[in-house]
Symmetry: C2
Subunit: 182 residues, 2 copies
C-alpha cells in the first residue's frame, strides 16, 4: 500500500451482557482517534447500532462489524499486527519500530485472551505493566503511534461541537460559529 | 505545597448497576498513570473492593473512597481543578497553562454532569471534541500533563509483571528475573 497508515481495531472476547459499555468505549475511542474500522469478534447488534448512531450524527468514515472470528483476520491482515497486553514489551520500545507506511491492526482483549493471539501478532505491547483498562491502553497506544495526527481527522457529520470554556455548544455542521458580539 | 504534583481523580455520576466496570477502569487508569487518589461520588463497595484488591496485589500507594459529595471537594480543593468534557477547550491549549507545582484534581463524569461542575473548575478540557470515553480521555490527559513520568511510579506490590515478547511472566516482587539460559 501507499499513503498514510490505516488503522483497524480488533476487539476480542466481548461478552454482550457484561461488556456492552466497555466495548462501545473501545469502538468510540478508535473512531475519535482516527481509526477507520473496528471488528468485534462476537456478534452484538446493540453495540453496532450505538456506534453507528454516533457515526451518523458526528460523522465518519468509520466502519464497525461484529461476529467476525479473529483467526482469519489475524492470519490474513496485510500489515502490522499488535496486541495490547500488560504482559507485553514496553510501548516506548516498540512504537519506534512500527512501520509508518503499512496498515496497522490493534488487538484489544477482554479478560481472557486465547493463547494463540500472542503468537499470531507481530508484537505484544504493554502500555505500562500495571492492570488498568483496554480503553486507556488503546487510547495511549493510538496517540503514541500517530502523535497529534490522532486528533486531526475531519469528520463529516450532521453536527459538531464548538470548543467552549464553560458551556456546551453544538451546531449543525457548516453553520457559522456565533459571533462574539451577538 | 512544594514537591511534585499530586493528582486526585473525581468520578461523578456513577450508577452502580450500569457503571461498575467503566468506573473501575477509571480508577485503575488513575492508579496506573501515577495518581494518588480517586473519589467516587456515589457509594459502591464492590468497586472499592475491586480496586483495593489490585492495590493489595500490584501495589500502591493509591487510595479510593466512594460516597463523597462533589461540591465540598470541588470548592475546597487546594490546587488546580480540571473537568474533562468533549465540550471544553482543546487539551493541547490548556495543558501548557496548568501549573506543575500545584496539586491537580481531574473530574470525569458519566453521561449527565451537573451544570455547576462547569463553573466550579478552573478549566473544562476536551480531549478531542468527539464523543468517546471518559477512560480514554483520562488516560490521554494524564499522559499529556505528566509525559513519560505518568509511567514512572514505583509500585510496592506483592507481584510484578516482567515485560515479555510472547508470554505472561508474573513474579513475586523482588525476586530475580529468570535467567535467559534457564
Amino acid at each position: 500500500m501507499s499513503g498514510p497508515m490505516r488503522i483497524t481495531v480488533l476487539r476480542l472476547g466481548h461478552r454482550p451482557e457484561r461488556d456492552k459499555r466497555i466495548t462501545t468505549h473501545v469502538c468510540l475511542t478508535a473512531r475519535a482517534l482516527g481509526c477507520e474500522r473496528v471488528v468485534v469478534t462476537e456478534r452484538d447488534d446493540r453495540v453496532v447500532e450505538g456506534v453507528n448512531d454516533v457515526v451518523k450524527r458526528f460523522g465518519g468514515p468509520f466502519a464497525i462489524e461484529s461476529g467476525a472470528p479473529y483467526r482469519p483476520l489475524l492470519k490474513n491482515f496485510p500489515g502490522t499486527k499488535v496486541h495490547l497486553t500488560m504482559y507485553g514489551l514496553p510501548m516506548q520500545e516498540v512504537v519506534p519500530q512500527i512501520p509508518k507506511d503499512r496498515d496497522l491492526l490493534v488487538v484489544v482483549g477482554a479478560e481472557k485472551v486465547p493463547r494463540d493471539v500472542y503468537d499470531l501478532v507481530d508484537w505484544n505491547v504493554a502500555v505500562g505493566n500495571q492492570p488498568h483498562s483496554e480503553v486507556a491502553a488503546l487510547a495511549l497506544f493510538l496517540y503514541a503511534v500517530q502523535g497529534d495526527a490522532a486528533f486531526a481527522k475531519t469528520f463529516q457529520g450532521q453536527i459538531e461541537v464548538e470548543p467552549s470554556a464553560r458551556g456546551k455548544v453544538v451546531r449543525p455542521r457548516g453553520e457559522a460559529a456565533p459571533s462574539d458580539e451577538s
